[in-house]
Symmetry: C2
Subunit: 162 residues, 2 copies
Amino acid sequence: MTELPIASVNETRWLDEEQQRIWRAFLGGMTVLTDRLDRDLRTEHGLSMSEYEILVRLSEAPDRSIRMADLAAALSHSRSRITHTISRLERDGIVQRVQCDTDGRGVTAVLTDKGFDLLATAAHTHVRGVRDYLIDRASPEDLTALGRVMSAVQEAIGGRRF
Amino acid sequence: MTELPIASVNETRWLDEEQQRIWRAFLGGMTVLTDRLDRDLRTEHGLSMSEYEILVRLSEAPDRSIRMADLAAALSHSRSRITHTISRLERDGIVQRVQCDTDGRGVTAVLTDKGFDLLATAAHTHVRGVRDYLIDRASPEDLTALGRVMSAVQEAIGGRRF
DNA sequence: AGCACGTCGTTGAACTTTCAATCAAGTCGT
DNA sequence: ACGACTTGATTGAAAGTTCAACGACGTGCT
């Protein structure tokens, strides 16, 4: 044997100094950012971030309604989690459950007017946060890079949850 | 009045198309990435990601021990959360609690040998994940940008939790 | 010394998420 | 039409996180 392989089969390649610094910044920034956005939403509108995300999706969908499983897939949540969350939102009059007419198993969640109004109000808080804590802190080029990297991550992991 | 202000005081500036695309990629990538890393650690070593992070910090600290409040601060967790998590880790023999001798209130968590061994094993899984799903998916320039942006985010939000 | 105030860590209850089990309904092959 | 298999949604219990309250201790002021 004379040349290859450069990296042998099962050896773990550790992160170098710089990669580690980046990874920790990512982890820390992510934690602090989601915590903060969640807290702002919660204290000002009584909505968690994931509830907010559900409302956003619903508000953009035709008839402001999406089937449970599609919601779960869109947000990478388990079906069970969506069931529980929608139950709470329904109890509070923010969404409504409707039996799906084309599929006997299906249930679609519909955003109520009250839910839409709540979202319209909460959106100010949320967007302000996203700007203040992220968008306005980075150059356009860095933001583009951020988008590129995170899209690649999604690509790399794909839909598979199990 | 003739010129300024360009943006008036309290108007919400919405995200443009591109910013929104980036923000969603970030949110989605983040969710999918942390879910995946968490799941890998959990199934292969019975450790959650936040437990893993605690072990990492402890392993790097002098005497492999850190005071509860410092752990909480370092990971941006509540003190209560650290108490509960450390209790579980202690029950499993992974850390130990020691009364602090310089401060009557203080408790420091110490990584046991068993905990250190577990971490040494789990680290392979974790680092492979970070590489496969993130580091190896992006150019060095983009990674640098990522680090820069996320550091700025941390800077923007700072330590304030409430 | 005494007192007010802040910090440290814990506790238990409420809430949210996960996990495994279940039931109902659609799909496919024969 | 039948059975096997997959998918959609729910359920309840277990596990984890948040929240408010508490007791113990340190700090600083008078």
